[in-house]
């Protein structure tokens, strides 16, 4: 930039001058991004401080990696990490469900029914986790819930689903499947509509059955989408679904419901150990970026596709 010709400088100056309305239009967005996205990134510094809420980032004392060492030697942190890893792994195991669902919709012949199924299954995505947790507590209620009424018919005694920690992971993962399977199938379906119908026709002429067509045409056709969503899912492995867990947890089942983020919330926001909690959050962000690059590279090797 230093060696720029004077005529270039003049051109930039004139461009910027004539485009001042465009810059004016962007001003609120740039300001909002600076304040609410970039300022918190700078705020990550508090993870390396004994953060004092009065003194702020500038005045607080730096303690190096002390916050990191103290949470890595905290057994309660490991309990939360254990839950996060378990829930993340269950989530990964459920990754193929929307793909299977999309394939079923794609192969299904009745157009009208197809559209109804799609409309119905997309709905839960628009329902908040508070409402979903309310529905679950009602359905699974020990005294008057429908699920226990159903179990009683088969002679099984009522189960205290939300008082015994052992059930929580399964309740949670079923709720996630219920909420997001329909909507997650959209991206696969749109990828499937991009596959040339003639490929299928040619395969039918060659005598390929349905399974062969799905395996050899549909799946390769949606592979780029699968890889893209897989990478994003893997990178979110340690992030968990904070709102869902927080809406569904209760103290009796906290041993199974409290993920790293719930732990962070209680230690940081409620407990006031700001630097300590920020250190956990910072580690999670680092893990997300690391996993993003690792999974991008790994899947590129395996499938030939990648996110970037």
């Amino acid at each position: 930039m230093l060696f720029m010709k004077n005529s270039d400088k003049l051109k930039i100056y004139n461009d910027v001058r004539s485009q001042w309305v465009l810059y004016l239009f962007m001003l609120p967005a740039v300001a909002a991004t600076l304040v609410f996205s970039y300022r918190p990134m700078y705020g990550v510094i508090m993870a390396f401080q004994k953060y004092d809420i009065i003194k702020g980032i500038v005045g607080s004392e730096f303690v190096g990696l002390k916050n990191f060492i103290s949470f890595f030697s905290d057994t309660r942190f490991y309990a939360a990490l254990y839950n996060t890893i378990a829930l993340g792994s269950l989530g990964l195991l459920c990754f193929p469900i929307p793909i299977v669902f999309a394939i079923l919709i794609n192969e299904y012949k009745y157009e009208g029914a197809k559209r109804i199924v799609q409309s119905v299954t997309y709905l839960p995505h628009f329902i908040s986790w508070v409402i979903i947790s309310g529905l679950l507590y009602r359905l699974l209620d020990q005294d008057s819930g429908a699920i226990n009424a159903f179990l009683n018919v088969f002679g099984i005694e009522s189960i205290a689903f939300f008082r015994e920690p052992v059930y929580f992971w399964w309740i949670y993962i079923l709720a996630v499947i219920w909420k997001d399977t329909g909507l997650n199938s959209i991206l696969y379906l749109s990828a499937m509509t991009a596959i040339n119908p003639e490929t299928y026709e040619a395969a039918i002429v060659d005598g390929a059955n349905r399974i062969q067509r799905i395996w050899n045409i549909t799946l390769p056709g949606i592979m780029p989408t699968v890889v893209m969503l897989m990478i994003l899912r893997i990178s979110a492995f340690f992030s968990g679904n904070f709102e869902a867990l927080f809406a569904m947890r209760n103290p009796m089942i906290s041993i199974r419901s409290d993920s790293v983020e719930v732990f962070t919330y209680y230690r940081g926001v409620v407990g006031g150990e700001y630097g300590y909690a920020a250190a956990i959050g910072f580690s999670q962000s680092i893990m997300a970026i690391v996993l993003l690059f690792i999974s991008n590279k790994g899947l590129k090797k395996i499938t030939g596709y990648s996110l970037f």
Binding site: V30, T33, Y38, F126, G281
Partner: protein
């Protein structure tokens, strides 16, 4: 033979789809039935699918529950102001970003993409909101989310499909950027703006975590947060006592069925707007997936 295998497949898939649809809708039917059933019956395991008896008692009490009414007001207010602000901030930015003549477009691109993948986390955000004085301030509901990178790029991609000739002819007539953006581009981009508005509106209506983190004044709780409190507590007795005092009749409800009534009322706006949301949302997602 082929015909037989095809129909067998379709029968199996039909059954799967019926089960899936039932499992999706059932919790809502159940909650509604529970909320309108006679209180003696709903307490036991008598309500499974359809209401037992019929009473709107829960909804009468709800209509005089000031917490719920205040919460609904806050929720509507934040949804409407949130959507308007979002469309203005994000739409104007997308207009500028869609112009290839914009100087520094690449730098702005990177500037807006980075926050889509990286964020500072809960605690730095908490401290920021605190230092901005947004605790217990209505603005905390709408300011942090007034710009969204994903929707900015979605609107930008859509605006780029509008032919340049429209702009050029308007310029010949002496129109400036402001006039072109508001009179030509805004009306033409209504479909994508509807997509963004519906999505942001639903997110605003469903939002409660910001209230949990930043709002301690319960008068300012949105409906979702009020619902969360009602679901979790036993304070319902207070509401019932007030009802008994003011109307001099014993409310014939139990806490559980009252919770379901509040839950149904909180869900209704979403169900009402869902047919529109679905149409635009799916379209918007597809544009986004194909073009980005």
């Amino acid at each position: 033979m082929r015909r037989n295998t095809i129909s067998a497949f379709n029968i199996v898939v039909s059954i799967i789809f019926i089960l899936v649809c039932f499992a999706t809708v059932y919790p809502f039917i159940y909650a509604f039935s529970f909320s309108v059933s006679e209180y003696m019956l709903s307490a036991k395991k008598a309500v499974i699918l359809l209401p037992r008896g019929f009473t709107l008692q829960n909804y009468y009490i709800l209509a005089s529950d000031s917490k719920v009414l205040k919460g609904a007001f806050i929720s509507f207010a934040r949804t409407i102001t949130g959507v308007v602000l979002f469309v203005l901030v994000t739409g104007m930015c997308a207009y500028s970003m869609s112009k290839s003549r914009l100087r520094g477009r690449k730098i702005f691109f990177i500037f807006f993409v980075i926050p889509m993948y990286i964020n500072g986390g809960m605690l730095p955000m908490y401290m920021l909101i605190r230092s901005l004085g947004l605790f217990n301030n209505f603005l905390v509901y709408i300011l942090p989310g007034c710009f969204g990178g994903f929707f900015m790029f979605l609107i930008k991609v859509y605006l780029e499909t509008i032919p340049d000739s429209l702009e050029e002819s308007a310029r010949l007539d002496g129109a400036g950027d402001f006039h072109i953006a508001t009179r030509i581009y805004a009306p033409l981009s209504l479909p994508v703006i509807a997509t963004a508005s519906l999505f942001v509106g639903v997110a605003q209506w469903n939002s409660w975590f910001d209230a949990l983190l930043y709002i301690s004044n319960k008068e300012m709780y949105p409906l979702q947060m009020v619902l969360q409190e009602i679901l979790r507590q036993t304070q319902i007795n207070n509401i019932l006592d007030t009802f008994e005092l003011t109307t001099r009749q014993k409310p014939k409800i139990n806490a559980e069925s009252y919770k379901m009534a509040v839950l149904i009322v909180t869900t209704l706006p979403i169900v009402f707007i869902y047919p529109f949301a679905q149409k635009y949302f799916v379209k918007g997602l597809m544009i986004g997936a194909v073009k980005m």
